[in-house]
Amino acid sequence: MKKKLICIICPAGCTIETETDDADLVKVSGNKCPRGAEYARKELLSPERTVTAVVPSDSEVLPFIPVRTDKAISRNLVSQLLKTIYSIKVKTPVKRGSVLIENFQASGVNVIFSRSVKN
């Protein structure tokens, strides 16, 4: 099967033409760098996205603290992950980079704080 993709790895946004048979990617063209080929493979076989959100906290200064995944996570897990994040109430203080959720659903992906909040 042939499919056109737009690479989301960098702002160049290459249009990548791909061809798959049964279970594997057989042909990639249009990418200006090797990261594009890697993206195309993942996008067709098991797409991943970085997720960002805000989590409710007990802080009066910042009642919602920004968080993100520390790497891209499978698209299938995104809505479950968002539900989990929204259901948490964080106790401050928190430090930027510290872990809110560790290894979500054994995906190897952590959710970390994007901002330090004293209280």
Partner: protein, 419 residues
């Protein structure tokens, strides 16, 4: 009136102001940032998505993380900051400047030798676009919606239409969807999207949000709250009303470009460029008013914060030279925008030092040639895989390139041609 004295005053504590401030302070000059919000970081604090810092730190950070890196540097270099404080006037008394600011304590006069303008920009709103229709609640800029969701924690609506395909609007389409709202469509007047292709892919295509290119909103309907918008194809410069269709929604977000915020600058006698909407600056990032400098989005709208920081660090270093009175006394020459260049910043160059220039193209080209010329002599050429108006280009003019020019610093011209 309270009176304070500093070597340099920075107006605005966003990405530009932070970088400029710590670069001035680390040279030993007393420096203060004046910020009208209740914390430093500016718009980065509400940009919780990732994609910041790829050039500067080699990794993809979220906005708040990027801001915190600079906030830490500002603290480490002993910059004073005045939050919840709004500057309302800058007066120039020869070499000394007075910056007047208002806060809960009353009015403060900051006496200083150098002022850095880093107030950023603001969003085009409904009034700027002149969208017809009624005036219900639920119409706001994409940046305001971003603030409501990401800082205040409010969902601004349940069923949204986004006008304009700028990056902020696209990012908000994803953010709203991830927050449980439905985005009914993005309406773009141009025949091509104005945001990055990757944002069309990951913010619209992922959620099957329709993008109506070459369409415009010809009316907003609703009494108390927005009920729907009329969307018309845009043909030959006018909405074609016969092709109009309705989209039901309770919220309209506007993401149609940014305007440098220069009311303060103009009042202080600073001259603005029509092409950028920001001040003209020379090779020291100084405006036409001696001692007043500018950097970041107040100067010209950037697409990457990494470039804002870089430009502002350069501005900080130039202010250090100004305060130390060890500026190069050589003459400055004009650098002008040639074919397919909308603008180039700064608008002057100086020989003998490396200097970075930023510019934007007028039209998209695949395979372009960047040429820097003085009369018929080519000083520098570079091949580019592509140029696109939403993506800023830059180059460094080195002392070697300007070596052969005569002492009067003749005009240099920069152009982009298709090859």
């Amino acid at each position: 009136m309270i009176k304070k004295t500093y070597d340099a005053i920075i107006i605005g504590g966003g990405a530009a102001g932070l970088s400029a401030a710590w670069n001035v302070a680390k040279a030993g000059f007393s420096t203060a940032i004046i910020e009208r919000e209740n914390c430093l970081g500016g718009i980065l604090n509400q940009c919780i998505h990732t994609g910041f810092g790829l050039h500067r730190f080699g990794k993809e950070l979220s906005g708040p993380e990027y801001a915190e890196m600079d906030i830490d540097l500002v603290a480490a270099n002993k910059v004073d900051s005045f939050i919840n404080t709004t500057v309302f006037e800058i007066r120039s008394n020869g070499i000394l400047k007075s910056v007047f600011a208002s806060s809960a304590e009353g009015v403060t006069e900051f006496e200083t030798r150098a002022v850095i303008l880093s107030m950023g920009c603001r969003e085009r709103n409904r009034g700027n676009l002149g969208i017809p229709g009624t005036r219900p609640s639920g119409i706001m800029t994409a940046g305001l919606a971003q603030r409501l969701l990401n800082i205040e924690g409010y969902l601004p609506g349940r069923k949204a239409v986004i006008i304009g395909s700028g990056d902020i609007g696209l990012i908000m389409a994803r953010r709203l969807t991830w927050s449980g709202a439905i985005v009914m469509g993005v309406i773009e007047i141009l025949p091509y999207p104005s945001g990055l292709a990757r944002n069309i892919a990951q913010c619209l295509d992922d959620f099957e949000i329709p993008l109506y290119l070459g369409h415009t909103v010809s009316a907003i309907n609703g009494k108390e709250r927005v009920e729907s918008v009329d969307v018309s194809p845009f043909k030959d410069g006018v909405p074609s009303l016969s092709g109009t269709f309705k989209i039901d929604c309770d919220t309209v977000l506007i993401s149609a470009g940014l305007i440098p915020e220069n009311e303060l600058s103009v009042k202080a006698g600073v001259k603005l460029s029509n092409a950028t909407g920001g001040p003209y600056v020379d090779s020291s990032m100084m405006t036409n008013v001696p001692g007043i400098f500018a950097c970041g989005n107040v100067l010209h709208v950037h697409d990457l914060v990494d470039y804002v920081s870089e430009e502002s660090e350069n501005c900080g270093s130039a202010v250090v030279s100004y305060l130390s009175s060890d500026e190069c006394s050589c003459t400055q020459g004009n650098i002008s925008a040639g074919s397919n260049i909308k603008y180039i910043v700064p608008s002057k160059y100086r020989t003998g030092i490396p200097q970075k220039f930023y510019m934007r193209s007028l039209m998209p080209f695949e395979n372009a040639m960047l040429t820097v010329k003085c009369a018929d002599k080519i000083l520098f050429e570079r091949k580019l895989k592509y140029v696109r108006p939403p993506e800023m280009q830059s180059f460094t003019l080195t002392p070697e390139m300007t070596d052969g020019l005569n002492e009067n610093s003749p005009e240099i011209n920069v152009s982009l041609t298709e090859v």
